[in-house]
C-alpha cells in the first residue's frame, strides 16, 4: 500500500489530534451523566456548556440557540419535519434540486403526505435560479425554505445571506444545511445572516462522526424531534453525548481561528494548483462556478471514461477521492447534482471530486497529478469513445 493521500474531506475529515485529546478524559474518567445531582456527574455539565459556548461563539449566536444532535442528517430532518409540523398542513416547502439526500428525502416524504414542495432549479454552473426563488417566495401561505449553503459535490455556494433576507422579508422560515460551508468559508455568522435555522456536522470539521448541531434562532416555530427528556431545553431528548460534544466544541474553536488565519487561502492555492494540473489533461472540464465555490473543492470530469474505474486506479496510487458516476452510488443514475446542472452526458459518468482540508499538502496534490494522466490514458485506450 502506498502512502495515503486523503482528498475526500467533503465525505469526512480526519479527527484533529487536539479534538481526540479533549475527548479522551470523558471516556476514561469523567463518564458521569451531565444531569446528575452529584459532583462526579454534574460537573461534566460545565464541560457541555463550555462546548456549547464555543459552538455559539463560532456561529455568532447565543449558546441556548445551539442544539446538539447526532449528525447533520438528524439536524436537517429536525428542521424540516419540525417546522412543517409547527406551521401546519397548509405549509409550502421551498428547496432546491441539488440538496443532500438528508434534505431531499424528508421533502419527498412530506410531498407524499400532500405538502406542497417547490424544487428550485439551478443554472448550468450550479448557482441558484434566483428568479425562481423569488417567484416561489411570492406564493401565498406559510412557507419553509430549506437550502444548502455549499454543495457537497461541486462546492458551489448559494448566496445564503441574501436568500435568508429575502425569506425573512416574505415571512418564510429559513433553514440552511451548512454542513459543507461551516469551517470552509468566513461569514457563517448568525449575528449577520438572518437565517432561522442552520445544520452542520462535526465530522466535516475534524471532530468525529456522531455529533451534529442544529442552530435554532429564538422564536423559530419548530417542534421537538426526539421526545423523552428535558435535554437541549426539551428540543432533543437523549442523555448528552458528552465526549463528542466536548470534541465538537474543540473543533469549532479551532475552525473559528482557521477561517481567518489564512488557512483557507492556503487550501484554495493547493486546490487551484490541482485544478490547473488536471486541466492539462485533454478534454477535462471543471463542473460548477469557479468563483462562487468552496476553497477546498474541485469537481472535474474526464469525458469518455467512467468514474469508478478511475477511483480504483487512484486507490492503487494511495489517492482517496469520490465520483458522481452511477457505478459508485449503488444506483444506476449518475449524480443528481450534475444532472440538475444539465451537465453534458459525457461529463456525468466521468466526474471526480477532490476535496482538501487543513491537513492536505503539496505531496497529496502531486500524487494526483502524477497518477491521473496515466489513468486517463489507460482508460481512454480501453474505451470505444476515447480515441
Amino acid at each position: 500500500m502506498s502512502e495515503l493521500h486523503y482528498l475526500d474531506n467533503n465525505a469526512t475529515t480526519m479527527p484533529a489530534p487536539e479534538v481526540v485529546d479533549a475527548m479522551m478524559p470523558f471516556f476514561r474518567d469523567r463518564w458521569g451523566n451531565a444531569s446528575s445531582m452529584y459532583e462526579f456527574g454534574g460537573s461534566v455539565r460545565r464541560d457541555v456548556e463550555d462546548a456549547r459556548a464555543k459552538v455559539a461563539a463560532f456561529l455568532g449566536c447565543e449558546p441556548r440557540e445551539v442544539v446538539f444532535t447526532s449528525c447533520g442528517s438528524e439536524s436537517d430532518n429536525h428542521a424540516i419535519f419540525g417546522t412543517v409540523e409547527a406551521l401546519g398542513p397548509g405549509a409550502t416547502v421551498i428547496t432546491t434540486k441539488v440538496e443532500h439526500p438528508a434534505v431531499i428525502q424528508p421533502c419527498k416524504a412530506l410531498e407524499q403526505r400532500g405538502v406542497r414542495v417547490v424544487w428550485l432549479p439551478v443554472h448550468n454552473d450550479g448557482t441558484l435560479d434566483m428568479d425562481a426563488y423569488k417567484a416561489a417566495l411570492a406564493m401565498p401561505g406559510p412557507k419553509l425554505v430549506t437550502m444548502m449553503w455549499a454543495n457537497n459535490e461541486t462546492g458551489v455556494l448559494f448566496p445564503i445571506p441574501e436568500c435568508a433576507a429575502l425569506a425573512k422579508a416574505a415571512g418564510a422560515v429559513f433553514h440552511t444545511d451548512a454542513t459543507q460551508a461551516v469551517g470552509k468559508i468566513d461569514g457563517v455568522d448568525m449575528a449577520k445572516v438572518p437565517a432561522d435555522m442552520l445544520s452542520f456536522s462535526g465530522h466535516k470539521i475534524h471532530a468525529p462522526k456522531g455529533i451534529g448541531v442544529l442552530f435554532v434562532r429564538r422564536g423559530t416555530p419548530v417542534r421537538p424531534f426526539l421526545l423523552g427528556g428535558h435535554q437541549e431545553s426539551g428540543r432533543r431528548a437523549g442523555t448528552e453525548n458528552v465526549p463528542y460534544i466536548v470534541g465538537l466544541g474543540k473543533a469549532c474553536e479551532m475552525a473559528a481561528v482557521e477561517v481567518r488565519d489564512g488557512t483557507l487561502s492556503r487550501i484554495a492555492a493547493l486546490r487551484d494548483r490541482l485544478q490547473a494540473g488536471l486541466l492539462r489533461i485533454p478534454d477535462t472540464v471543471v463542473n460548477g462556478n469557479l468563483e462562487a465555490r468552496l476553497p477546498n473543492t474541485l469537481n472535474v470530469s474526464f469525458p469518455y471514461i467512467e468514474g469508478e474505474a478511475m477511483l480504483y486506479h487512484l486507490g492503487d496510487a494511495g489517492v482517496c477521492a469520490s465520483s458522481g458516476s452511477a457505478c459508485t452510488s449503488g444506483s444506476l443514475e449518475p449524480s443528481h447534482v450534475l444532472r440538475a446542472m444539465d451537465a453534458p452526458f459525457t461529463s456525468l459518468h466521468g466526474s471526480l471530486r477532490f476535496s482538501l482540508s487543513r491537513y492536505t499538502n503539496d505531496a497529496d496534490v502531486d500524487a494526483v497529478l502524477d497518477a491521473m494522466p496515466g489513468i486517463v490514458k489507460t482508460l481512454r485506450e480501453l474505451s470505444p469513445y476515447g480515441h
Binding site: E306, E308, D316, S383
Partner: protein, 288 residues
C-alpha cells in the same frame, strides 16, 4: 467500495485482448455513452471455424471492464455455436462472482457477443431483431426480450433483480409495473389482468388492459397528443403511475411552476387521454 473478487480486480488491472481487429468477421456494440457503460466486441474466425482472435473496448466501471476481458478469454478458440451458448451467468462464474448490483455488466458482455455473432451471420449491425419486441425501459433502452432472457438464465424473481441484471427500471422507475408484468408472465403467476391483456388483436377497452399495457397506452397518448402541446410553452409532463382508472402525472419545465397547471391537467391532459384511450371515466391527478 465493492466486494470484487481477486479475478475481477485482476481482469480490471490487466485487461486481456483490448483493442480492435482489422477486417473483423463480426462486430457487436451495446450500451451508450449516455447510459454509463458500453462495449464494442469484435472477432475473427480461423480456417477451422473457431474464434482465432477477439478484441474489446469498454467504457464503464471496473466490473464492466473485467466482464469484457473475461468474456474474450472464454470464447477464444470456441466455434460460434459454442460461443452462442455462453451466458452472463458463465461470465460471472468465470470471475468468481460479481456483486448483485453489477450483474448487468455480465449481461452487457453476453449481449455484445450475441450482437457480434448476429452481425457475422446477417451482416446486420442492429443489435437485435426488434420487431414485436417492445421497448420497456426508455431510460436505458431495454427491450422486453432482453428482460425475458435475463429472467430465464438467472432465474430472477423480483423487479429489483431485473434492474440489477439489465438496468431496466433503474432510473425514472416508470417501467417497474411493466417489468412486474413480464415477471408474472414468466413465472406463471396469475396476472391481475389475464385474458383481456393477452387478446391484443382486438382493441380492448382501457379498463380491461393489464397495468403494464395501461402504462404503455397512457405513455403513448401523452407522447402523441400532450407533450407537443406543452413543449410550445417550454413545459413537459412525466407519467408517475396508473392505478385503475387514475393516472398520476408530474409536470416538468415551465409547467412545474405554472399557476394554471391544474387547468392544463383537466383541460388538456385528462381530456386528451379520455378521448384517445376511449375511457370517459379516466381521472388525471398531478403529484408533487
Amino acid at each position: 467500495m465493492w466486494d470484487y473478487s481477486e479475478k475481477v480486480l485482476d481482469h480490471f488491472h490487466h485487461p486481456r485482448n483490448v483493442g480492435t481487429i482489422e477486417n473483423p468477421d463480426g462486430v457487436g456494440e451495446v450500451g451508450a455513452l449516455a447510459c454509463g457503460d458500453a462495449l464494442k466486441l469484435m472477432f475473427k474466425l480461423g480456417p477451422d471455424g473457431r474464434i482465432a482472435d477477439v478484441k474489446f473496448q469498454t467504457f464503464g466501471c471496473a466490473s464492466a471492464i473485467a466482464s469484457s476481458s473475461a468474456l474474450t478469454e472464454m470464447i477464444k478458440g470456441m466455434t460460434l455455436e459454442e460461443a452462442a451458448k455462453v451466458t452472463n451467468a458463465d461470465i460471472a462464474k468465470y470471475l468468481d462472482g460479481l456483486p448483485e448490483q453489477k450483474m448487468h455488466c455480465s449481461v452487457m458482455g453476453m449481449e455484445a457477443l450475441e450482437a457480434a455473432i448476429a452481425n457475422y451471420k446477417t451482416g446486420d449491425t442492429t443489435v437485435r431483431e426488434l420487431k414485436d419486441d417492445p421497448l420497456v425501459c426508455t431510460c436505458f433502452n431495454v427491450h422486453e426480450s432482453e428482460i425475458v432472457e435475463a429472467i430465464r438464465i438467472n432465474k430472477l424473481t423480483t423487479v429489483e433483480q431485473v434492474t440489477n441484471y439489465t438496468k431496466a427500471g433503474g432510473a425514472c422507475g416508470k417501467c417497474k409495473g411493466a417489468i412486474q408484468a413480464i415477471l408474472d408472465r414468466e413465472l406463471g403467476r396469475p396476472a391481475a389482468d389475464s385474458p383481456a391483456a393477452k387478446a391484443s388483436s382486438a382493441p380492448a377497452s382501457f379498463a380491461d388492459l393489464s397495468p403494464a399495457k395501461k402504462v404503455l397506452a397512457v405513455e403513448k397518448a401523452l407522447e402523441k397528443l400532450v407533450r407537443p402541446a406543452l413543449a410550445v410553452d417550454g413545459g413537459d409532463v412525466e407519467l408517475v403511475d396508473v392505478q385503475g382508472g387514475r393516472v398520476q402525472i408530474r409536470f416538468l419545465g415551465h409547467c412545474a411552476h405554472c399557476m394554471a397547471a391544474h387547468l392544463t391537467q383537466d383541460g388538456l391532459v385528462q381530456a386528451k387521454l379520455r378521448e384517445e384511450l376511449g375511457a370517459p371515466d379516466l381521472v388525471v391527478e398531478t403529484v408533487q
